[in-house]
């Protein structure tokens, strides 16, 4: 669900809004207007609507009222409450209160102990009835608000009748694994039961509009109390595993997909938190001991310096734990921003800080278990980059910016038009740029940094500063950074800074020309489309404002993560086009005219940066307008055709037709938006959720495949050629992917069963060594199968890489060995090949091969990484020790770099990994440039590394890995 205005304002933190953000205010007002229409209609039809929904459900489940005579009143009261609050939430475009009231319904649903299918049927009836009462356009919008309530009540109805069995079995399981627990703590059984129940309650709230924040608040309380917990991390791991197993056994996963995702996230957090809290003291002691052995001169820099260091590191580590959960990222950002001030105030020096946090990372790698590390490491990595850059800036920034401001103020004495305060403002702006660039490295920061940079750029454009001066100011900033900051800081800062500089240059260049560009475009539009003038008396002003918003939003997409703003803006535009059925010809003409005016008036290179983005936007806008023309026809005809072939579906699955229409509508939207940056990832995320629900839906492959094929056919019939080519190509991949998923849903169990049976009969020693090894292997393999199928849609690579990284940690920590891993994924490939039909087999074959190769390669690396790195470094230092001695801590840094390159080169073998690897090479390029490493030395270093790899690795595409590493060195050297 979209963000409320209050949330957007809270996040803005005292700044103005960008043009793109202001369009969100208008969109919000539009939603509120529709919400008022809903309230008006609901007011007069509430009673009939509810009576029909409940009666239909009671007719279908007659035993409910027989068992509980108050059933009708109770379910009516629950649905009335939900319906009214949903309508109000839409009219206010704010769900804060709505969620709170829905949470209050959790307990009555649990106590009522209704048949869950009855509750599900009643809420689905309510959605159908609302749609019928409100009409399709308004009904669909309202359904988006009703949906969380429907999901929430359904999940809780299923939980109500299963939770006792789930909690009972999980508690028994834990107590049988820890037989002395009850003799140690008399209330152990009750306490465990209570804790596990809490996790179930909150997992069931995850589907609410503010569900992730609610879950995080509970997790934070858990984490804060974890230090006083009577249980160790091993027991927590067992407890959460037992809870997941029992939940999977008793709760129907079909209608509760979101519940299982949220429960998994809760379990991940809790096991990570328990593991870190338990080892915290030992880990921090180890880090500080080593740190101050290396830096004895710093021991006297403050009283209790060791304790202070530990405290600071715990702040970072603890907030990284928070940052692993979506609901905790905002908290992490806040604390890290404050921590940045601490670093500036206390001036520990970058060398000490970098060492401290590198040691912390190494210690976490060595001490934490695989699952915990897989969640923590990506966040910790980013936090460490941020802390290291902040420490570096803390030491060098004041002098660096002072000098820069002096130079600029002297040269441009009217800088910012305020002579007396010029220097202060130069320093403030540059500080802000540096801070935003570094905080942008943290997860979940893009809303913050992109918003700030958008407003800054738009301010520069409005203030009309001298182009040359602005270019020079950021050029001086980059040069100052290159001279003063360390190679590590630069490697993360400079690529981001260059993109930001490009954006700021573009803003300055647009400023004096924008009026002309907009006026010319608006006049051309109004000359051709005269009705527009009649519709809007202030036609030129309105058109100019809309075009300016598009120009600014396109420009901001240049900065790091800025594509998010463009995507969000175009998403709002899509809704607007669909709602108002904007004229396709007029939109085409308007954006072509804009492109022409930009081409004429904007100089190179600025127009070369902007034009490709505007071209993409124009293609998208054309497609959106084309979809808008025939959307209703496409949806109705394709759903009719699908259900005509399967007339039993509506009777078997409540709300099936409405859901199909909703899914198709979402698919049209996501496939169209996939034409713009970030849209592909969004499509893949949506497909992932859709496919997860497909697994438990029971719809069967035939219906899914045919229904999607119908959508594609009807879409092709009603869209024009450019749209059918652009969006149709994406839709083809979606159709193929959903067909593969539907097949997988049917055959997954047998594939996993067969693969693991063969595997463990060949490697029985692994099953003896690891608890629940077979079940865990099946869980990992299921993830691999599903992610491999998802690779059919564009944008799925990011998810696939995340999975590969997680499995890398688990495999390395578990010391399964390359031979076992190779066998495991070869057997999985074989079983999939044997059971899937031809089209699904084709879709999965290559990703499964790549997975087998990659995982066996990294399993081998896990077995031999230390030997490979030690051997290659020894060789290198024997040959070039004297030359390398001039660089500080070179051996450790080289070891770190080589490890990174090796892992990244291995990851580049999987889809999407090349892009990540290219990014690393760009960072390495900055390090090489800053440290002025010479090429022969680098070639020697990496030759020694690849020689060791060739000698030690026996499984997977070793030759390919070696060749990638060698090519990489040529690139960054």
């Amino acid at each position: 669900m979209h963000e409320s205005l209050e949330k957007m304002i809270d996040r803005a933190r005292q700044r103005h809004f960008s043009d793109e953000e202001l369009t969100l205010v208008s969109r919000s007002a539009s939603r509120m207007e529709h919400g008022c229409d809903v309230v008006e209609k609901i007011r007069t039809s509430e009673r009939e609507l509810l009576t029909r929904s409940v009666s239909k459900a009671l007719q279908k489940f007659p035993n409910v009222e027989a068992e509980n005579p108050a059933a009708r009143d109770l379910i009516t009261a629950v649905l009335t409450m939900g319906l009214r609050q949903a309508a109000l939430a839409m009219a206010l475009d704010d769900s804060a209160k709505y969620s709170k009231i829905l949470v209050g319904l959790q307990r009555p649903i649990w106590d009522a102990q209704f048949e869950p299918e009855f509750v599900q049927n009643a809420v689905e009836n309510l959605r159908d009835e609302s749609m019928a009462t409100l009409g399709k356009a308004l009904g669909r919008q309202f359904d988006q608000v009703l949906k969380p309530m429907a999901r929430f009540l359904t999940i809780n109805a299923y939980l109500a009748v299963t939770k006792d069995a789930v909690l009972g079995e999980a508690t028994e399981d834990i107590l049988s694994l820890n037989p002395d627990l009850e003799s140690k703590f008399a209330d152990a059984r009750r306490k465990i039961h209570e804790d596990l129940e809490k996790y179930l309650i909150y997992a069931a709230q995850g589907v609410l509009p503010d569900g992730q924040e609610r879950i995080f608040r509970m997790l934070r309380t858990y984490h804060e109390a974890a230090a006083r917990s009577r249980y160790g991390s091993a027991l927590m791991l067992e407890a959460t595993e037992a809870l997941m197993d029992a939940a999977r056994k008793y709760i129907n996963p079909g209608p509760t997909v979101e519940f299982f995702s949220d429960l998994q996230r809760i379990v991940n957090f809790i096991t990570l938190s328990a593991d870190v809290v338990e080892k915290k003291d030992a880990m921090l002691e180890k880090v500080t001991e080593t740190l101050y052995r290396r830096h004895p001169d710093k021991l006297k820099s403050a009283e209790n310096i060791k304790e202070l260091t530990k405290r600071d590191m715990w702040v970072v580590l603890e907030n990284c734990i928070y940052g692993t959960h979506a609901g905790g990222r905002e908290r992490m950002l806040e604390v890290m921003s404050e921590f940045n001030l601490t670093l500036f105030r206390f001036q520990f020096g970058p060398r000490l800080i970098i060492d401290a946090y590198q040691l912390l990372l190494q210690t976490c790698r060595a001490e934490l278990h695989g699952g915990a590390l897989a969640s923590l490491e990506p966040v910790l990595h980013k936090a460490i980059h941020f802390v290291a850059i902040s420490a570096d800036l803390a030491e060098k920034q004041p002098a660096m910016l002072e000098g820069l401001a002096e130079e600029l103020a002297k040269k441009y004495d009217a800088f910012y038009g305020r002579r007396e305060t010029a220097k202060i403002y130069v320093i403030r702006d540059q500080e802000q740029v540096l801070h935003n660039l570094s905080i942008g490295l943290l997860p979940g920061s893009k809303h913050l940094t992109v918003g700030r940079f958008s407003v800054f750029g738009e301010y520069l454009a409005h203030a009309r500063f001298d182009e040359k001066m602005m270019h020079e100011s950021t050029e001086l900033l980059e040069a100052a950074c290159m001279t003063n900051l360390s190679a590590q800081s630069l490697s993360h800062l400079i690529p981001r800074m260059r993109l930001t500089r490009r954006y700021l240059d573009l803003c300055s260049s647009l400023a004096p020309r924008e009026e002309k560009i907009l006026k010319e475009t608006a006049e051309a539009i109004l000359a051709k489309y005269t009705t527009f003038v009649e519709k809007y008396p202030d036609g030129v002003a309105k058109v100019s404002r809309d075009l300016a918003t598009m120009l600014h939003t396109a420009a901001v997409s240049i900065i790091p993560d800025g594509e998010m703003a463009l995507h969000r803006g175009l998403e709002a535009f899509y809704d607007n086009i669909i709602e108002t059925r904007m004229d396709k010809g007029m939109l085409d003409f308007a954006y072509r005219a804009l492109i022409k005016a930009v081409t004429t008036h904007l100089p190179s290179p600025h127009k070369d940066w902007l034009l490709p983005i505007l071209e993409t936007c124009t293609t998208f806008i054309h497609a959106a307008a084309d979809v808008a023309e025939n959307r209703e026809t496409i949806l109705t005809q394709s759903v009719d055709a699908a259900f005509a072939k399967h007339p039993d579906m509506e009777a078997r699955f409540p709300g099936a037709r409405r859901k199909a229409e909703e899914d198709f509508d979402l698919l049209l939207r996501r496939c169209t938006l996939a034409l713009v940056p970030n849209g592909e990832e969004n499509l893949a995320d949506g497909m992932w959720i859709f496919c997860q629900s497909l697994f438990a839906s029971g719809y069967g492959p035939k219906f899914i495949t045919e229904a999607h094929a119908e959508l594609r056919k009807v879409f092709g019939k009603y869209s024009d050629r450019p749209t059918n080519t652009a969006v149709g190509a994406i839709m083809d991949r979606v159709v193929a992917t959903s067909a593969a998923f539907a097949e997988l849903a049917e055959k997954e169990d047998i594939i996993l069963h067969e693969a693991t049976n063969v595997l463990y009969s060949k490697h029985p020693q692994i099953a003896e060594r690891h608890r629940n090894a077979k079940a865990k292997t099946q869980r990992d393999m299921a993830q691999v199968l599903r992610h491999a199928a998802l690779l059919g849609v564009p944008g799925a690579e990011k998810r696939f890489i995340t999975l590969m990284r997680t499995l890398t940690e688990v495999i390395t920590k578990g010391k399964f060995g390359a031979a076992f891993i190779h066998d495991a994924y070869e057997m999985l490939r074989g079983a999939a090949d044997a059971h899937l039909p031809k089209h699904a087999k084709k879709q999965l074959a290559r990703p499964l091969e790549v997975t087998r190769d990659y995982l066996s390669l990294v399993a081998g690396l896990g077995d031999h990484e230390d030997e490979i790195l030690t051997e290659s470094l020894d060789k290198l230092f024997a040959k070039r020790g004297t030359q390398m001695a001039k660089y500080m801590d070179v051996k450790e840094q080289t070891r770190h770099d080589e490890r990174m390159i090796l892992r990244s080169a291995a990851l580049s073998l999987v889809p999407g990994g090349e892009r990540e690897h290219a990014r690393l090479l760009e960072l390495m390029g900055v390090v090489v440039q800053r440290n002025q490493f010479d090429k022969p030395m680098l070639v020697d270093a990496y030759t020694a590394l690849t020689d060791s790899c060739t000698a030690r690795l026996k499984h997977g595409p070793v030759k390919q890995l070696v060749s990638t590493v060698q090519k990489s060195v040529q690139t960054f050297a």
């Binding site: 205010v25 207007e33 007011r43 009219a91 209160k97």
Partner: protein, 161 residues
């Protein structure tokens, strides 16, 4: 969320929507829609309004300029914040938002610096006049009303004299 809307949410637990609820919701929606254009105009005019206001203020009260370190720069910063929170309140159509999130605690800060009631009122009256002068009629009126709220909140008798 506005208090009256919170009250409505509570009331809906025992009754359905009434005509007066719909009128209130529509009025609220219209106010939010207008907020976008006010935000755009204030963003574009803020620099002019604030700099002119602060220049006028210290011309009138030169003795206050050296009262604290970088008083003028800090006044610029604070006045900007007051205006921005006014804007947030306008977008949300909820005057309480600015008061709860900034004006009340800022009153305490102003008190601590002992600028005096007259000087503070003067500062924000100047800003109000400039706002009306530089912004279009409707938009300026909305901001001006929020500045009134700020002045009323800041207009206090210091706790300790």
């Amino acid at each position: 969320m506005r208090q009256d809307m919170q009250d409505l949410s509570h009331a809906l637990q025992t009754r359905g929507f009434g005509n007066e609820d719909i009128v209130a919701l529509r009025r609220h929606t219209a106010a939010v829609r207008k907020g976008a254009s006010t935000a755009r105009e204030l963003r574009d005019m803020e620099h002019t309004i604030i700099f002119a206001s602060v220049a006028e203020l210290y011309k009138k009260h030169p003795d206050k300029k050296g009262a604290w370190f970088q008083t003028e720069v800090k006044t610029l910063r604070d006045m900007k914040l007051v205006m921005r929170y006014a804007l947030y309140s306008i977008i949300l159509n909820d005057p309480e938002y600015a008061k709860q999130k900034m004006y009340w605690w800022f009153r305490t800060i102003l008190n601590a610096f002992e600028f005096g009631k007259e000087f503070i009122e003067d500062a924000y009256r100047i800003a109000q006049t400039r706002t009306i002068k530089h912004m279009s009629k409707d938009e300026g009126e909305a901001v001006s009303q929020m500045i009134d709220e700020a002045i009323t909140t800041f207009n206090f008798e210091p706790v300790a004299k």
